[in-house]
Every structure is written in structure tokens, then in C-alpha cells.
């Protein structure tokens, strides 16, 4: 048993010193515990029980001053509610206003964290409900505007979700334009800034797309020769399709 750490004496007494009844009851209760655990219902994540996130001040008290760790803990805690088989069912049961409050709390505690935005745009927007999807995309859009150069990847995801899942090209264009206008740091790749071109093309707005590509090429921001050639070809293609029309 827990042998080496005993108090006092140098050697333990033999097992024969333990009354047989103690050993018998020990094994019986061990079996009972296993049987009891087996008979109890498996733990389930109660989606409807997700509460509203407490105020950030209160969370800070609960985190004992370690906001970063608390933020990571909150991410996992929130994830627990979805962590059950059949992912779309629990998401549909979740109150998205409350989900948003937890994501917001996590981001407030760790503004450099990406987890809440990834969860918003890639987990919670997977739900087959356009209203909920839009709620998550708008949350991402709002948070993107607070730190566009850091949070651009999630805005790019939002463009794709709006475009391909929601099939809402106007919304996709709004997000793509935000990317082009606000995410302008050198580390932001050009493909992200150029997303509005492809959305415009898909919308049939070839003229607007042509102007955008032309402006981009003239601005001197495209330094990679391959990328310059690709965009030039794209521009020519758009010009040809414009003449055909």
C-alpha cells in the first residue's frame, strides 16, 4: 500500500496483522465503486446550462492575477460545452450571446490570444444556422478592427465563411474590404489584402476588380515577380472579359 512514507517505526508489520474483514471490505468496496461508476450516467455537457460570462473584474479576481492562464482556461472551459458527439447539435442548443460573452472575456484577458477568434470563425460558425453564423462573423469583424494587423488571419477566414458557407457575397466583400483597408502591416500577406478582388469577380463586378488590381500593381506594394505576373494576367483576363461584355 502506501508503504515507504509511514510515520514512526522503521519496518512495517506483515500484512497478516491486518484483520481479514478490513481486506475483504476493501476489495468489496473497490468492486462496488467500479460497479457504481459503471451504473451512473456518463457525464454530459449541458449546452443549455452555459451561463453568461461574469464581469472581467470578477474573472481577474478568480484568476488570482494570472489573466493569461485564466484566458486559456476559459477557452478550454467553453470548449467543454461543445465537446460531445454530434457537433452541430450542441452548437445549435447554445445561446450564442453567451458564447460571445465568454469569447469576449477570454480576449479581454489575453488580447494577443487567437483561440477565441479561431473558435468563433471556425468552430461556432460551422453551425447550420445563418443567424448564428453571422453573429460569430460579426464578432470576429468587430474584434479584427481592434487589432487588424494581428488578427487578419481570422478575418480572412471570415471572408471565406461568408462567401462559401453563407453565400453572402456582400458580407464577404465587406470583410475583404476591411482586410484590404485595415490590415496593412508588412507581415500581412498580399493574398489576404487581395481577397476583395476575387469576391468582386464572383459578384460579377469585373470593372471594380480590374480597378483594384490595377491600383495594387501601380502602388508598388507587389514586389514578388511571380505575384506581379499572376495579378497582371488576372488584370488582362478581366479586361478581355470586359471588352467581350
Amino acid at each position: 500500500m502506501i508503504a515507504s512514507a509511514c510515520h514512526g517505526g522503521s519496518r512495517e508489520r506483515p500484512v497478516t496483522q491486518v484483520p481479514g474483514a478490513v481486506i475483504l471490505v476493501l476489495f468489496l468496496t473497490l468492486v462496488l465503486q467500479v460497479v457504481w461508476h459503471h451504473s451512473r450516467p456518463a457525464p454530459t455537457a449541458a449546452a443549455s446550462a452555459l451561463p453568461l460570462a461574469p464581469p472581467t473584474e470578477l474573472l481577474r479576481v478568480a484568476g488570482l492575477g494570472d489573466d493569461f492562464a485564466l484566458s486559456k482556461f476559459l477557452n478550454l472551459w467553453l470548449q467543454m460545452y461543445d465537446n460531445q458527439p454530434g457537433i452541430s447539435i450542441p452548437f445549435l442548443e447554445l445561446d450564442y450571446a453567451r458564447v460571445k460573452s465568454w469569447l469576449q472575456a477570454s480576449l479581454t484577458l489575453d488580447p494577443r490570444g487567437h483561440y477565441p477568434l479561431l473558435a468563433a470563425v471556425r468552430l461556432y460558425s460551422e453551425v447550420p444556422d445563418p443567424e448564428r453564423q453571422q453573429q460569430m462573423l460579426e464578432f470576429t469583424y468587430k474584434k479584427f478592427q481592434e487589432a487588424p494587423n494581428d488578427r487578419w488571419p481570422w478575418m480572412a477566414h471570415a471572408v471565406l465563411v461568408a462567401h462559401h458557407r453563407l453565400k453572402n457575397l456582400e458580407l464577404a466583400l465587406k470583410y475583404a474590404n476591411a482586410l484590404a483597408d485595415r490590415a496593412i502591416a508588412p507581415q500581412v500577406p498580399h493574398w489576404a489584402q487581395q481577397m476583395s478582388i476575387f469576391v468582386l469577380e464572383d459578384m460579377g463586378e469585373t470593372e471594380a476588380a480590374r480597378i483594384l488590381i490595377g491600383g495594387l500593381l501601380e502602388s508598388g506594394r507587389i514586389t514578388d515577380p511571380q505575384e506581379f505576373r499572376f495579378l497582371s494576367e488576372r488584370l488582362n483576363l478581366l479586361a478581355e472579359s470586359g471588352y467581350e461584355r
Binding site: M1, I2, A3, A5, C6, H7, G8, G9, S10, R11, E12, R13, P14, V15, Q17, V18, P19, V22, I23, V25, L26, T29, L30, L32, Q33, V34, W36, H37, H38, R40, A42, P43, T44, A45, A49, P51, L52, P54, P55, E57, L58, L76, Q79, M80, D82, N83, Q84, P85, I87
Partner: protein
């Protein structure tokens, strides 16, 4: 063994239990519980002011959760230090020199600590009944008592087993936290976000499942949600009572196994 021997033994166990509980009063443990109640009241008022909506629910849930954890911490600290005091001043040896089996000494201590748990629970339950429906508060309090009895048995086992107070307290706390979170850990291990194709993940999941079989499902005890939404019926207490009985007996047997093998 005749009836008078049983009566004598039961009397001795009751005396040990009484003096163990008295120790709590003599070491001003009761003042700590009073301070806890005051702190609970402060937390309730503070959180009630901070919440922007669901004020009552936020206040009750946070106060109940904090008080529950504080009570568990107090009990672990009290039981561990009390047992170590017994070992340090050799009163264990004195007890064992009496015509009383070691199980009698153990049961006396456990009985005494159960009384201390009851004294700890009563004012906390009273405070929560003030902020929530009385019947829900009462059921929460009874559940907390059972939880604390389980923690007493747990702390007693580790206090007997470990030389160092720090080790005993750490082991008790770890066990308690694991018991409380094993349900959530299981949910995460089986969740769709884990890659069950990986062997390492399969092993981890199997380990978590096996561990869950051996741990008490403490997350079903004293749930704050009872105090806020339609309270639980008394039937909610039955599985908690059964789990407490099974687990306290199991812990007691392990502690007795250890105690009977000790050389003093």
C-alpha cells in the same frame, strides 16, 4: 465478543470523536468558520454589485462555489494538522496502548472530523439559504456535508500515509481537484476535437476512463446550479449518499490497511 465489550468499544470511539471535535473548538477553528461566513457575505455583496445581469444567479453561484472550496480547504488543513499533532505528541501511541483496536481509534477520529464537518457546513448552508430558496439551500448544505465527510476520510488517509504535512495536504488537494474535474476531463478526452487515430491519444483516453472508475464523481456534489434554477428534489441526494458511503468505506479500509501495518 459480548455486548458489554461492544458497548465499551463504542464508548471509547465516542470519546475519541468527542475530543477530536473539541480540539476544533480549542484551536479556534470555529473562528475560522465564522470568518469564512463573513467572507462569503462579502463575496455575495461584491459579486451582486458587479454583475450587469442575472445578479442573483451570479451572486449565489460564485458565493456557493467559493465557500465550498474554502470549506474543503479548511477541512483538509484541519484534519491533516490534527493527525500530525497526534503523531508528534505521541497521543496515537497512548491511544493504541488502550484495549481498543486500531479500527476503533480510526473510527473515533473519523467520527470527530465528521462532527467538525457538520459544524463547518451549518453556517455556510444558513448563509446560502438566505440568498436562495430554503429547500434548495438545505439540499445543497446536506450535499456539502457529505462532500466534506468524504474529504475528511481522504485527508485522514493521506495524513496517516505521509510523513510530511505538505505532502499530505498536496495529495488531498490533488485528489479532490481530480475528483471534481474528472467528468470534464473525460468529456474532453472523448471530444471530437481530439485525434483518436493517434495511439498516444487512445492511451490517454483509456487512462482517463480507468481513473474515472476509481475516483468519486465529486462534480455531482453540492452543485451551485441547484441554488439558482428549480432546485433538486431530495432524490438528488440519494446517489450522492450512496457514493459517499461506498467511497468513505473504501478510503477507510485503505487507511486501516495502512494503520494496521504501522510500527509505533
Amino acid at each position: 465478543m459480548n455486548t458489554s465489550t461492544w458497548r465499551q468499544r463504542f464508548g471509547a470511539i465516542a470519546v475519541i470523536a468527542r475530543y477530536t471535535a473539541l480540539e476544533a473548538f480549542r484551536t479556534r477553528y470555529i473562528w475560522l468558520v465564522s470568518a469564512l461566513v463573513l467572507a462569503g457575505l462579502g463575496i455575495a455583496l461584491f459579486t451582486g454589485d458587479l454583475a450587469i445581469t442575472e445578479t442573483g444567479a451570479t451572486r449565489t453561484a460564485i458565493t456557493a462555489a467559493m465557500l465550498r472550496f474554502a470549506a474543503v480547504l479548511l477541512i483538509i488543513l484541519f484534519v491533516t494538522t490534527s493527525v500530525h499533532r497526534d503523531f508528534s505528541d505521541k497521543s496515537v501511541e497512548l491511544m493504541l496502548s488502550l484495549p481498543l483496536p486500531r479500527a476503533g481509534y480510526y473510527l473515533g477520529k473519523l467520527g470527530g472530523y465528521t462532527l467538525v464537518a457538520a459544524v463547518t457546513t451549518a453556517p455556510l448552508c444558513g448563509l446560502l439559504m438566505f440568498f436562495s430558496p430554503a429547500d434548495a439551500g438545505l439540499i445543497w448544505g446536506l450535499s456539502l456535508l457529505l462532500e466534506l465527510v468524504l474529504v475528511c476520510a481522504l485527508s485522514l488517509l493521506f495524513a496517516f500515509a505521509f510523513n510530511q504535512i505538505t505532502g499530505a495536504i498536496a495529495a488531498s488537494l490533488l485528489f479532490y481537484v481530480l475528483g471534481r474535474s474528472i467528468g470534464a476531463i473525460q468529456l474532453m478526452a472523448h471530444g471530437p476535437l481530439t485525434n483518436q487515430a493517434q495511439t498516444s491519444m487512445q492511451i490517454t483516453t483509456a487512462l482517463v476512463d480507468s481513473l474515472a472508475y476509481l475516483l468519486p464523481d465529486l462534480d455531482r456534489f453540492s452543485r451551485s446550479i441547484w441554488l439558482v434554477y428549480s432546485g433538486p428534489g431530495a432524490s438528488e441526494l440519494v446517489p450522492i449518499l450512496v457514493q459517499t458511503l461506498i467511497y468513505v468505506t473504501l478510503l477507510s479500509c485503505i487507511a486501516l490497511f495502512d494503520l494496521y501495518r504501522k510500527n509505533f
